[in-house]
């Protein structure tokens, strides 16, 4: 969806400042991030200050202010994952994708994020790619999993 298309859908939240987070979630779902210009439109439409919108966007981890790749990787850094070697998985991911945490690969295929806990501790170490959970990771398995996304899931994002 285009930025102007999203702006239209925000109209549904006109004058409803209490639904700021839902409006932002809608934008992020459609565009993959919340561009600065849309933040301004949301402020005007909902009747809140731009400062408040920006404050909320930067407070919550899930909002992005830059475009994300086609697939978002979220590596869990919860306690169980930590004691079972999440740091090695992180190193493997950074090395394989050649991006630091928060970065997007040059081909736009993957964005690498870390999260505090995915609540799938029984499968530690764990990561989510989009909405799929991948557990019991080893550096070797990470490479194989990334490969399946790079090749077989090439449908337009």
């Amino acid at each position: 969806m285009s930025i102007s298309g999203v702006a239209k859908r925000i109209e549904a939240y006109a004058g409803r400042p209490n639904e700021l987070i839902q409006a932002l979630q809608l934008v992020q779902e459609e565009l993959g991030y919340v561009p600065a210009e849309v933040q301004g439109q949301i402020a005007d439409t909902l009747g809140v200050s731009i400062g408040q919108v920006h404050g909320v966007v930067t407070f919550y981890h899930l909002f992005r202010t830059r475009p994300a790749g086609r697939h978002t990787i979220r590596l869990c850094l919860g306690t169980a994952c930590h004691v079972l070697g999440a740091d090695r998985i992180l190193t493997a991911l950074e090395k394989q994708l050649c991006v630091p945490v928060g970065g997007t690969t040059e081909d736009g295929l993957f964005t690498l994020d870390v999260v505090r806990c995915l609540g799938t501790c029984s499968l530690a170490p764990v990561m989510m790619i989009d909405e799929d959970v991948h557990g019991r990771l080893t550096p070797e398995r990470v490479f194989a999993i990334l490969e399946t996304y790079a090749t077989s899931k090439e449908e337009p994002g």
Partner: protein, 594 residues
């Protein structure tokens, strides 16, 4: 041939292990063999032992199959469903009936009774198991006052962590002046290591809806919210479906079951902020603001959502409610200890054999939980500590295994019940590193409102970093204790007040590890890279196979193939452990200096 039902666990863990592929294969085979009338496939929520997934349970025989792969499906269909013969190779340690498996036989499932048994996407299945009967009874035969009295009499306490008496909370909200009133379900399960709320929402969402509706009747609310974290897409999907079904069947809506009482539930999806698990921060987030806690009083019961009286309970608390009205408050309070009633769900994870979700009467000991149910630590390892209660909790040593798990006993020993996350740590874990890990967590999740939390936690964290890097001093330990007290006593909300707990409890029970890091410059478990002892090769055991030299990234392991022994150059060794893992003869070990 008798009619059988195959329960396919489709919780997140089993899905990730391939449960849906198994389901598809079974479904195809049932059609292929024309078993439509004799075999039913049911997708259920989490059945418990996640480490054994994908799980299948065949009823009414009550046979549990573990680690099932799609290629096992044919044998299950032909031998068991058609032939009535159990497929022994897929049983858990040979147990032919689920009830004889130790993982299950030591549990008491009440809140989780439906999870892993019924299809969470079908309200009919919930109703057929006695679902919404409690709500019907409450609406037709009980006054709001009687409902609150029953919850008070049950002794139920909040399952989110603090353990506040639920009945009292309901009474405060009921008595508070102001209209309208709200019921809020806290499903922002943020504690790392806790996943019981996720499993309840995925496996039995109607139990939460029923509990909330009973609460709404008790306090006189017409509107409710479930605040669920975005990291749980399956839970969100099941909840959304459950709310729609409950409306269709008249268990939610303007006029519930023709009683004239109306209650509606909306979902609010979190946006990733740990602090939103704190109730005032959660309310701010529902109102579309930054999730920053405020001081209490006024408590949400007096002034909550939009300044109105608001009842906030956690998922597991609401899921307990229907049991109180189904079995009666006396039966409910017959389980548990003097001060803590009922059962509690725990999430077992970490360095333990059986990971997953378990439910036991409150007052069960840690030993029963970790060994009888959890199967203990992995082969060849020793239990070092049990981390309970997440970043607000503490690390208890193996000597305290016989402590009963209830709110007071855990508190006495420096941990908390918390939401019930239990991370088992074996002798490969470094307790200083664990303390540092938790402070990293709370430092990055502090909302920044209170200076002691915003500045104090990172300061403590920096001290721990120094210690783990070999630059710590004994003054640092005093400083840590001072700061812990300061942050604890001067922060506004639970996040800051409890953030020092992992440090305090590891200093209390594992001071020797801190001393080893500071005095001997050694990390005894080898986790802290800078302080890990180097590796060495036992010349007697070395067979000069060259495996260690092949994997060594710094050429520290050297020798001539076929001419033992190989040696490791201590100056070049980066303590990565690659040689240790590669050696087929167990010849590589850490240098022990102490």
């Amino acid at each position: 041939m008798s009619r059988r039902e195959v329960l396919v666990c489709s919780g997140t863990a089993c899905r990730s292990a391939g449960a849906m592929e198994v389901h598809r294969r079974l479904s195809d085979l049932i059609v292929e063999y024309g078993l439509g009338d004799e075999a039913v496939l049911t997708e259920t929520g989490c059945a418990g032992p996640c480490s054994q997934g994908p799980l299948l349970r065949v009823m009414p025989d009550d046979v549990l199959y573990t680690q099932v792969r799609p290629e096992d499906a044919e044998e299950i269909v032909r031998d068991h469903l058609m032939g009535g013969r159990v497929v022994c190779r897929l049983l858990w340690e040979g147990h032919e009936s689920l009830s004889s498996i130790p993982f299950f036989s030591h549990q008491k499932k009440s809140v989780l009774a439906n999870s892993g048994v019924i299809d969470p996407d079908r309200i009919e299945a919930y109703e057929a198991n006695g679902g919404y009967e409690a709500l019907r009874r409450v609406l037709t035969a009980m006054s709001p006052e009687a409902i609150i009295e029953a919850v008070e009499a049950s002794g139920l306490r909040g399952r989110g962590g603090a353990g506040f008496p639920t009945g009292r909370k309901w009474r405060f909200t009921s008595d508070a002046p102001g209209e309208p009133k709200y019921v809020v379900c806290n499903a922002d399960e943020g504690d790392p290591g806790a996943f019981m709320d996720r499993a309840i929402l995925e496996g039995d969402p109607h139990a939460v809806i029923e509990g909330m509706t009973i609460a709404a009747r008790a306090i006189g609310a017409e509107r409710g919210f479930i605040y669920v974290r975005a990291e749980y897409p399956l839970a969100i999907q099941r909840l959304e479906a459950a709310v729609v079904q409950a409306c269709d069947r008249g268990w939610l809506g303007r006029d519930i079951q023709g009683t004239g009482f109306g209650f509606q539930i909306d979902l609010r999806i979190g946006a990733g902020a740990f602090v939103c698990g704190e109730e005032t921060a959660l309310l701010a987030s529902i109102e579309g603001r930054r999730g920053v806690p405020r001081s209490r009083p006024p408590f949400p019961a007096q002034s909550g959502l939009y300044g109105r009286p608001t009842l906030i309970n956690n998922v597991e608390t609401f899921a307990n409610v229907r049991t109180i009205f189904r079995d009666g408050p006396e039966a409910y309070s017959a389980i548990g200890t003097e001060s803590s009633k009922g059962t509690k769900v725990f999430a077992l994870a970490g360095q333990i054999r059986n990971t997953g979700l378990v439910e036991v009467p409150i007052g069960t000991t840690l030993r029963q939980l970790v060994f009888d149910i959890g199967g203990g630590v992995l082969e060849g390892r020793e239990l070092k500590a049990i981390q309970i209660g997440g970043p607000s909790g503490g690390c208890l040593p193996a000597e305290l295994l016989d402590v009963p798990i209830d709110y007071e006993s855990l508190g006495e020993h420096g941990a908390i019940m918390g939401s019930g996350g239990v991370i088992v740590l074996d002798d490969t874990a470094c307790m200083v590193n664990v303390a540092r890990y938790f402070l990293d967590f709370t430092a990055s999740e502090s909302c920044g409102k209170c200076v002691p939390c915003r500045v104090g936690i990172p300061t403590m964290r920096d001290i721990l970093v120094r210690i783990t890097e070999g630059e710590g001093t004994f003054e640092d330990l005093d400083r840590l204790e001072e700061l812990a007290e300061l942050v604890k006593s001067t922060s506004l909300c639970g996040l800051g007040q409890t953030a020092p707990n992992p440090v305090v409890s590891t200093l209390r029970y594992f001071k020797g590890e801190y001393v080893a890091h500071i005095e001997d410059r050694i990390c005894p478990s080898g986790v802290c890279q800078a302080l890990a002892p180097p590796y060495t090769i036992d010349p007697e055991a070395c067979k000069a196979c060259d495996q260690c030299a092949k994997v060594c990234p710094t050429d520290a392991a050297r020798g001539t193939p076929g001419e033992p022994p190989y040696v490791i150059d201590e100056a070049l060794c980066i303590r990565c452990g690659a040689c240790f893992k590669a050696c087929p003869f167990g010849a590589v070990a850490r240098v022990v200096r102490r």
